[in-house]
Subunit: 505 residues, 2 copies
Amino acid sequence: MNQGSSLHGEFSSISPAEFFYRNRQMAGFGNPSQAVYSTVRELVENSIDACEEARRQPDVRVSIDEERSGIVRIMVSDNGTGVPYGEVPNAFARVLYGDKFTARQRRGTFGLGVTMAVLYGQITTDSPVIVLTQTSHTTGRSYQLLIDIKNNQPVILSDESHEREGPGTEVTIRLKGDLNRSRNRVYDYLQLTTVASPHANMELVINGSSVMRMGRWHQMLPAPTLASKPHPHGADLELLRRLVADTGERSLHDFLVESFQRMGTRTATRFLKFLSINPRQVVNTLSRGDLSRLSSALRSYDGLGRPDGKCLSPIGKDAFLTSVESVFAPSALTYGSRGPTEWSGNAFIVEGVAAIGTGARAADVPTLYRFANRVPLLYDSGEDVLTRMLKKVNWVKYGVGSTTPVSIFLHLCSTRIPFKAAGKQSIASLPEIEHEALSLLRELGRNLKKTLKGDERSVRDAQKKREFDKAMKQVAQFSAELAECDAIPSTAELVHRLFEVGYHV
Amino acid sequence: MNQGSSLHGEFSSISPAEFFYRNRQMAGFGNPSQAVYSTVRELVENSIDACEEARRQPDVRVSIDEERSGIVRIMVSDNGTGVPYGEVPNAFARVLYGDKFTARQRRGTFGLGVTMAVLYGQITTDSPVIVLTQTSHTTGRSYQLLIDIKNNQPVILSDESHEREGPGTEVTIRLKGDLNRSRNRVYDYLQLTTVASPHANMELVINGSSVMRMGRWHQMLPAPTLASKPHPHGADLELLRRLVADTGERSLHDFLVESFQRMGTRTATRFLKFLSINPRQVVNTLSRGDLSRLSSALRSYDGLGRPDGKCLSPIGKDAFLTSVESVFAPSALTYGSRGPTEWSGNAFIVEGVAAIGTGARAADVPTLYRFANRVPLLYDSGEDVLTRMLKKVNWVKYGVGSTTPVSIFLHLCSTRIPFKAAGKQSIASLPEIEHEALSLLRELGRNLKKTLKGDERSVRDAQKKREFDKAMKQVAQFSAELAECDAIPSTAELVHRLFEVGYHV
């Protein structure tokens, strides 16, 4: 090509599908046990998102069958919106494609996860993904898809009309997987999913037997999240240029008010005065230097309100307390929340529950359960910002020790979770998140202290309550079976009222 | 678009540049301090690779200037091959583009790192990357480049002829950076780079003052690595299909021999007999089922030789011992190595040095320095496979304790390092790597034990030696300055011979 090229290898471009094919461990597909877990997780995330879009209580069923040693078939079905038929091939067989690129809280985020599962299945078992989906007011369709990895394009093996009982999606992926080593993780994942999405019902079927069915601890569907305008603190030059390009011939003042949240007329006027820029200047006549100055000023300007929380969906006090209590039956629990605030313009909330007397082992540091955008995080806790903050707190000061086990459930929700890797297992340390998480943990600690100081009797009560709780659940299940009723009624509230466990907030 | 789409957000595809722009923390650009470190690291990796390609001793100079508070200019220059002029725009301003996609050990690997630094600089300071480069037998050229992030395409602001003293490349990036908080990391990184690349000379200049200049502890350039054929254990279906497509009308037997390493005529015959497939069948007439069966058989076949090590470049016993001794002046040290072996068909070697009496604090577990393909890893040690294996060893059994500090330097080299994230800070846990690392650590432990049991005198000797070593280095530097000679001669070997420190292997 030219004089220097013989010294180099050949230069070339690779597609994102090729990149993640080569580096699948970055996306959570590093080994057959992690692959089972990640496939379940990615499909379940999408399913619950799709149900919430449809404003329906999620009923999600995960079936895992070991077809022969080392080969596993995973099927996840939901009662969600269904996937628009024209989008199915790209949504399932094209990396970095999706409807997830909006500034509001979603479980899935990258348009990467499910395609990674499809890709991994394809290269380990040569099987296509099978997608049955039905949107409302239509009969359903069924697809068999592979990925052209070099070109990052879907390959459609079949595309047929297919009847389904109602709207929803059912996805089947065959892959090389280690069911034995992943079974407990999958169970924990689904159980904790009902903690973070207390309105969802999860069922797990392994080799044809129902292994778990739980959830819907709380009836209320979370309010739908709304995509928000960007916060001025996120206005890096790239974003600012894009906004200007979309705006055209507007005055700088009007541009600011229309493009950003927390930029009312008065704030915009004050801000531009502070910057000494003429508010009537037309925005697409700004020089590069002006834009650069505008960007740094926006990103560091102090006089702005808190970010809009309507793009976020925290679990909320009632639902979070109820779900932790239903799953873990603690003797006492307390809720706290911080925010909304922002990191680089991305709104976030941290909320948490501290629970006393749960199954976890007693120690000087509580057992931590991490959640991001209602998704439990089970791997790579060591370098996670939430774990790091937990360890920073002197828990002994708050009465935590070797006598009573304490668990902390922390949920970070944000329009963008700063995951450390595409496998979405741990959260990067950003000062804003560190600060809020630490404050929240200390608040939970202070509340714990009051309770732990409290009567010894509560420990015995908790023991009794746990046994009662277990018995009641069995009674409920038997009754449901007798009545040939599919839904098992929740007994948590009943038991709770009987024992009047102390909430401290 | 169709009935279901109103329920969803808009579906779309995003470019890899856009993906990493949104998730820059995954690529090591999560905050201004990490950004300085990652920029230096990515540029230095490329520089040393380019010098080795040119078969020249690397002289790499890193200059960092704080232009105004929070804005940093980083310039890295080398005496390498220079970048082929036609490739400069894509190589520096297009994500997932490069000459790094070959099956041999290189420092850089993804065609991602430097473009991430360019992207980060652009969105935080609005500045283009400046590239001066000269390939041999040409005058150089100078470029100013930006990235069109939405389309992942380079934008060429200028492209001019530019004289340079000789072949090599000089890259300048302005970015939002925290110099104070990154200074020590950068220093450590460059110092440890001289440990892993003992033939390289590194200089660090901060705000115009030379802060460090060290290296070339060992004169020998490592042998050039050769791209190897794939190992049969890496033959997933995607790879197998690609190889078949490249081959055309060959018999299965010849296809195996020509496409894979460790597949001689006899091995191929034995393997096909074991599989009961006709060795004369033409390879592109194989059915999907046949290919699938062939793939799983290749991946699990036991009767194969060790993988080819010519694609790898371990530091090697002499060079590794010399560099650790030169930088850390321990009282005793020992080297060990395991491999070549493979994970999923990727050849790898683990080698290590254990050093007694270095600066690190004495403890029950040695201080660990991690290296991957001759690159020091400084972040995210907690979840790294090497750290995990270090903690698995009962070091007290080997005499490690609170009296004498011990450091372990572990180097994993491979045609593919299974990094956990695109920022290349920690290595995923794969059973093959776990096994070799653990065996190596135990071997180093046994060697340590012999030494630690040994005479107390050696501790005093080491103290003396360290002082002597320091003095000799100063003498050498003064002499060099007097002689107006640029290169400071190495004194390590001289001091070593004077004290005859015991090597135990």
